[in-house]
Symmetry: C2
Subunit: 155 residues, 2 copies
């Protein structure tokens, strides 16, 4: 008799949201390529030749997960990996032609999927949704390591 209403738990809502998204992705975008895999491809289209760690940073995947995702992309020959001649610890990642094609093809579909996903909201509500969600996520992420706030200079 002391049960809680899960609808008031943002974490539970986040999980449901992600599950719903996963489902829609599978039906509208691709059953082969997952959303995190697409994010990796996208990061490499934006900045070719990144190393593994940086890709993880860009798309929000930790070192282990990014290694797995990249492993799968390499197996499918959408990517390849070469040692950085400048720094033998790093692997440099490059898209194959097929990787670039796949990214281009899926970009169209993800746009359509996003529209369907957000269709229940009006245009203003959609911006609000992005704003609120992003602020919550940013804040929680910054609790992780109280290092420099977003947009800190490099080098």
């Amino acid at each position: 008799m002391a049960a809680v209403d899960l609808a008031t738990h943002p974490g539970h809502l986040a999980r449901r949201l992600q599950q719903a998204h996963h489902l829609l992705w599978n039906t509208m975008v691709s059953e082969e390529i997952t959303s995190p895999q697409f994010a990796v491809l996208n990061a490499l289209v934006a900045e070719p030749g990144l190393d593994q760690r940086t890709v993880g940073e860009r798309v929000g995947l930790d070192r282990s997960t990014v290694a797995e995702v990249i492993g799968r992309l390499i197996r499918r020959e959408l990517l390849d990996k070469v040692r950085d001649p400048q720094d033998g610890r790093r692997y440099l990642l490059r898209l194959t032609d097929e990787g670039r094609n796949t990214h281009r093809r899926l970009t169209v579909r993800t746009a359509r999927m996003n529209q369907v996903f957000l269709a229940p909201l009006s245009t203003e509500e959609q911006s609000l949704f992005f704003d609120l969600t992003q602020r919550v996520a940013d804040a929680a992420e910054s609790l992780r390591d109280p290092g420099q706030p977003p947009g800190a200079p490099r080098s």
Copy 2:
């Protein structure tokens, strides 16, 4: 040069949100019990003696996942499982005393965590966040099986 801004992708945002939540949960609620596990305990506090499938329905876990989660809860002796004498296909789930205690203890902490998680938003923004997120999730879930809309009568 045809890269997309992931910040405009609700799915990517949902994933980040969930990751951030997971992190906060680990530090503020429990490293032993996960959020889905808590959801299962909570469902059984609300409705003791549910079967596995129904629990999954209540907390939004599919048949396979709910079986795994329940397995872990049983191993930790927070739950037990007995065949339904009325229907030998079902397992009926019951909280142990420790399960009830754990639920009660974590309930307090989850409330605190939710506050911290949503702290970047004002009170009105928080209700808006719930409303928008819930509508998106509901809509996407109903795309799954175009069965009866929410709130369909039972029995």
